[in-house]
């Protein structure tokens, strides 16, 4: 496999007396879907926020494309090519898909000193990118509010990719979706990965992770037990690692293996 785009070395993050991350090391490579699994409170969010420049690690090193990186603002990470698609995403339902797609990055058409929003260009690109992702819009002026949750995730992903993301962090993109919408998002992840972009897929659903993941890292109580390749680990083992073993094994027995 190719060199890692981003390496997180022994990251620690303390909030006052609380140790949220107690030395986590992960490396992310281009063209892979790296699943980050963990139960609620395992430190997943803190970890990706460190990666995307929201939090500064208390100790540890972030190496991005071979160079040590010190993100002080989320903006730095975005400019370097690390895009985060949040669970409650950065889409505005009242606005059209094309206006959303280019929000903050509007294409400009110049008339002398006057700078206009180039709607034709924006509409054309939006339609093209949406088609690539398998979403058929009625028109670029269709409001995002009329799209399903999965389609909105896909628009957000397509936007991040279009604006040059090298690392795409997806924060629980499937947690609020139905079966069909989930498979749409997973298909989108697959398309993005094939373009050589590194995808960091955060989830607590083992089945979703197994469906697209190339490598798996489990976080538990601020620590990681290393990274497993696809085929090296079974869903049951992942589940156990996430929950810390014992307790869930007992529970699972009484629930008949449905968790």
């Amino acid at each position: 496999m190719n060199d890692p785009i981003i390496q997180m070395k022994n990251i620690q993050k303390h909030f006052g007396s609380v140790i949220a991350l107690a030395g986590v090391s992960v490396d992310i490579r281009g063209g892979e879907c790296h699943c980050l699994l963990g139960d609620n409170g395992a430190g997943k969010s803190t970890f990706i926020k460190t990666m995307s420049g929201v939090h500064k690690p208390t100790s540890g090193e972030i190496i991005f494309e071979g160079k040590p990186m010190n993100f002080t603002r989320p903006r730095d990470a975005i400019e370097a090519g690390i895009a985060t698609v949040h669970q409650h995403l950065a889409m505005i339902p009242l606005m059209s898909v094309s206006r959303n797609f280019f929000m903050g990055n509007e294409p400009i058409k110049k008339f002398g000193p006057i700078r206009l929003f180039d709607h034709d260009h924006a509409n054309e690109i939006t339609m093209r990118e949406m088609k690539k992702m398998g979403i058929n819009l009625r028109g670029p002026d269709q409001a995002v509010g009329t799209l399903s949750g999965g389609e909105r995730q896909t628009v957000a992903i397509a936007r991040a990719v279009h604006f040059g993301a090298k690392v795409l962090i997806l924060d629980e993109p499937t947690s609020a979706l139905g079966v069909r919408q989930t498979s749409n998002v997973l298909a989108t992840i697959d398309k993005v990965r094939k373009q050589g972009i590194a995808v960091v897929f955060i989830t607590h659903n083992v089945r979703h992770a197994m469906a697209v993941g190339d490598r798996f890292t489990v976080l538990n109580r601020g620590q990681t037990h290393g990274t497993a390749m696809k085929g090296e680990i079974t869903p049951e083992e992942l589940q156990d690692l996430m929950a810390g073993g014992q307790e869930l094994a007992t529970l699972e027995g009484s629930l008949g293996g449905t968790v």
Binding site: P93, L94, G134
Partner: protein, 370 residues
């Protein structure tokens, strides 16, 4: 996975007519047609539709338009300004104090007033974005503060609350005509000579047309509507206005300078209020401490009739302009139709309710809100 190459079977085809109708301004368009049909039927012979009558309701509508444009853009960016009415009274009074009491050249008085009022707008915006308080409360405070100053300052200096002599003070000034003059006099004279519009039959203005020009107020109104519509729909800044009101956090995540956008919209609202005030004092020749009372609500009503969403992120300047037109036509039309003037409020309430219900219905279809 689902590689849909042809159209999605669940997206209903929309007919061209339906698509053309599904726009934020529809409520305003329907309302405008409705009020013109109504007054065309009930007040056609009253003089409402001759040159003088048209000028009468056009001027009133233009006044509403000027403040509605500011209120509209501000509302779309997610905020309110309740201090518009007080700002109008305050700006007019400042011009009178500077230009008449202090005897400054009128153009300096006007420019300084603009600077002071826009600075107040910026202060409104700054307090709102820095404290995170609802703009409703912040500008309610400004409403009282500005109104208080508008009464206190002339009372302390001049011992009265109405200051006249502004027209005389503005005589020969280069900037004042931009707000107080009338344009197109030759055309109206010609129209009068041709008998297309009526002329005075007696008195010292005998032979002159009853309408002798288009007041600059109307030029400002049209100019601001065109500018506002262009800014909102055609520029990158317009996208930021929508985004700031639609979801401020999502907009910030995408790199939109939300706070700066909101502060600038407060400043623009203050600018519009000041334009209104300058036109008004130039027309009346005086400034009064009670000017502009309740104008903030009239502006907001016009904007809402025009299809804007009270909570921001959605709306249209053209819609707001139509809302202002409806407002002006109804207010003056009832007078022409000889209806008891207190019924104006009843009529207005009914129109407001009907327009908002229609607008909400349209908006749900367009945006998929549930």
């Amino acid at each position: 996975m689902s590689d849909v190459s042809s159209g999605d079977e669940r997206i209903k085809e929309m007919s061209k007519v339906r698509k053309a109708l599904m726009r934020p301004e529809l409520g305003g368009i329907v309302g405008t047609v409705a009020v013109f049909v109504f007054f065309g039927l009930f007040a056609f012979d009253s003089g409402m539709f001759n040159a003088q009558g048209i000028m009468n309701w056009s001027v009133v509508s233009a006044q509403f338009m000027i403040i509605a444009v500011g209120a509209c853009l501000l509302m779309i960016s997610g905020e309110f300004d309740l201090s518009v009415g007080s700002m109008i009274g305050f700006a007019g009074m400042m011009i009178a104090i500077f230009g008449v009491t202090l005897g400054w050249p009128m153009w300096i008085a006007i420019l300084v007033t603009f600077v002071i009022c826009v600075a107040f707008g910026a202060l409104n915006g700054y307090i709102v974005v820095k404290t995170g308080l609802p703009s409703f409360i912040v500008t309610l405070a400004t409403l009282f503060i500005l109104r208080g100053f508008t009464i206190f300052i002339p009372q302390t200096i001049e011992r009265k609350t109405i200051i006249g002599g502004i027209r005389e003070a503005a005589e020969g000034d280069w900037l004042a005509p931009l707000f107080g003059a009338k344009i197109g006099a030759p055309i109206f004279n010609w129209l009068g000579d041709m008998g297309i519009i009526a002329t005075f039959e007696r008195g010292n203005r005998m032979g002159e047309p009853v309408v002798d020009g288009i007041p600059m107020l109307m030029v400002w109104a049209l100019g601001l509507v065109i500018f506002g519509h262009w800014l909102l729909t055609r520029t990158r800044f317009g996208n930021w206005i929508f985004a700031s009101g639609g979801d401020a956090d999502a907009a910030r995540n995408s790199g939109v300078p939300v706070n700066a956008v909101k502060i600038q919209m407060f400043m623009f609202t203050a600018f519009c209020a000041t334009v209104f005030a300058v036109c008004q004092v130039m027309e009346f020749g005086s400034a009064g401490a009670d000017r502009g009372l309740l104008k903030e609500f009239e502006a907001i009503i016009a904007v809402v009739i025009g299809g804007a969403l009270l909570t921001g992120g959605y709306g249209s300047v053209i819609g707001a302009a139509l809302g202002a037109l409806i407002f002006g036509v109804v207010q003056q039309g009832l007078f022409f139709a000889g209806v008891e003037s207190s019924l104006f409020r009843v009529f207005l309430g009914v129109i407001l309710l009907a327009a908002v219900i229609l607008n909400t219905y349209i908006r749900r279809i367009i945006t998929g809100e549930r």
